[in-house]
């Protein structure tokens, strides 16, 4: 019976995926970002930015009005981020795939439905990006630029614009301290839902390397 149900789910999921050129971030390692369950559901739903603005009220106590986040890096800027990335991260946080114990209780399904996740993502993607607020010290920009061009640009784009279809986040102009915190977590295997390809690339990075790249990305002008 369970096998039959699983089989049906697979058929249903493939049907959903077939309905549109749904983005797939599978890439080299399909297990990294398997699009299934409510992640698939939220990605398939049509997000409404107006409804998203209202649903986002519950987020702005931390991420702030206009989704600017905070310079301290505790909360990332979400304005302008790719909707697919936002959906993936919210769903991963609530399923504990991405470790974020502070946010997880607020992302509970009784607080935000899959439709609201899609709406919030549509709203945030369309928000104007505020000017770079949380810049780094600016002391290792040349080193950062070099590392970025060598290791990061292939996925995150020459200008840090990311790639929504492949679930690669926009990083340009993100708060320096947030970039630094997350890249450390990814390098040290503590983020939970990191792309293994990225972990491989930055595994050998020193703290100074991470600081330099974060400094460079925080200084990039957002699109």
């Amino acid at each position: 019976m369970k096998m039959l149900l699983n089989g049906l789910l697979v058929v249903w999921s493939s049907w959903l995926l077939a309905q549109s050129p749904a983005p797939s971030g599978a890439g080299a390692d399909p297990a990294w970002n398997e699009i299934k369950g409510e992640k698939l559901l939220a990605l398939r739903l049509k997000g409404d930015p107006a409804r998203g603005a209202e649903a986002f009220e519950i987020c702005q106590g931390c991420h702030k009005s206009g989704a600017t986040g905070s310079i301290s890096g505790v909360y990332p800027r979400l304005a302008g981020q790719h909707a697919t990335v936002l959906i993936e991260q919210i769903v991963d946080i609530r399923s504990s795939r991405r470790s974020n114990p502070k946010m997880k209780p607020f992302a509970h399904e009784q607080i935000v439905s899959p439709q609201e996740i899609a709406d919030i993502a549509a709203y945030l993607q369309a928000l104007p990006i505020p000017p770079n607020l949380g810049k780094g010290p600016g002391t290792a920009l040349a080193r950062g630029k070099e590392l970025y061009a060598r290791d990061c640009a292939t996925c995150h784009g020459d200008r840090g614009e990311g790639n929504g279809e492949k679930f690669f986040p926009l990083v340009a102009g993100q708060h320096y301290k947030y970039l630094l915190r997350e890249s450390r977590l990814i390098r040290d295997g503590e983020r939970g839902n990191a792309n293994p390809d990225m972990v491989k690339v930055i595994k050998s990075y020193t703290d100074e390397d991470l600081e330099a790249v974060a400094d460079y990305m925080a200084g990039l002008a957002p699109p």
């Binding site: 009220e57 987020c59 106590g61 009005s65 505790v74 607020f106 009784q110």
Partner: protein
């Protein structure tokens, strides 16, 4: 609206005041809340997720068909403001209300309840509310007594706050 006015003047008046500005701090002010919020809470009493030995029998005896009009009536009443008794606590409360606490993961209350604490259709008005009532309800969230559907967020927030922080925010809000 006429029927709602009559219910307010005969039933609700004893605790909440005819215009929804209760003077006894054991009972919340209802004036100026969004009508949707009032209807939602009345339904939560009936569903048993909000507990009160006083309110539940009273709400149960009402006709749910009148809830909407009652919400509209109290929502349309002019809320009275309060006075600050402890200035230092109110200052601390104001900071927490507007900025939250990043280190402890306490969201700014203003995110949902608005900067002026006027509330929205989903979130209650807090400006001018009795401090005693605010403190009691935060305790009910913290101790999982107030189990309203939309209260899940607040139960988490309340658990992250100390009693002193709760008192400070209540002091700030009571004075608005």
């Amino acid at each position: 609206m006429e029927k709602a006015r009559t219910i307010a003047a005969t039933v609700c008046v004893k605790c909440h005041g005819a215009d929804g500005n209760s003077t006894d701090p054991a009972y919340p002010k209802l004036a100026g809340h969004h009508p949707n919020y009032i209807v939602g809470q009345l339904n939560e009493f009936i569903a048993g997720r909000r507990k009160s030995d006083i309110m539940v029998p009273i709400v149960t005896a009402l006709d749910p068909g009148d809830f909407k009009a009652l919400g509209a009536y109290f929502g349309a009443q002019k809320p009275t403001s309060g006075t600050v008794l402890d200035k230092k606590a109110a200052e601390e409360g104001k900071r927490l209300y507007l900025d939250g606490n990043e280190e402890k993961g306490i969201p700014a209350c203003a995110g949902c309840h608005q900067e002026d604490a006027g509330g929205t259709k989903r979130f209650p008005r807090l400006a001018g509310q009795h401090r005693e009532y605010l403190i009691r309800e935060m305790g009910n969230f913290k101790n999982e007594i107030r189990m309203t559907k939309t209260g899940r967020f607040m139960r988490e927030v309340a658990k992250r706050m100390t009693d002193q922080e709760i008192k400070a925010v209540a002091e700030f809000l009571a004075g608005l």
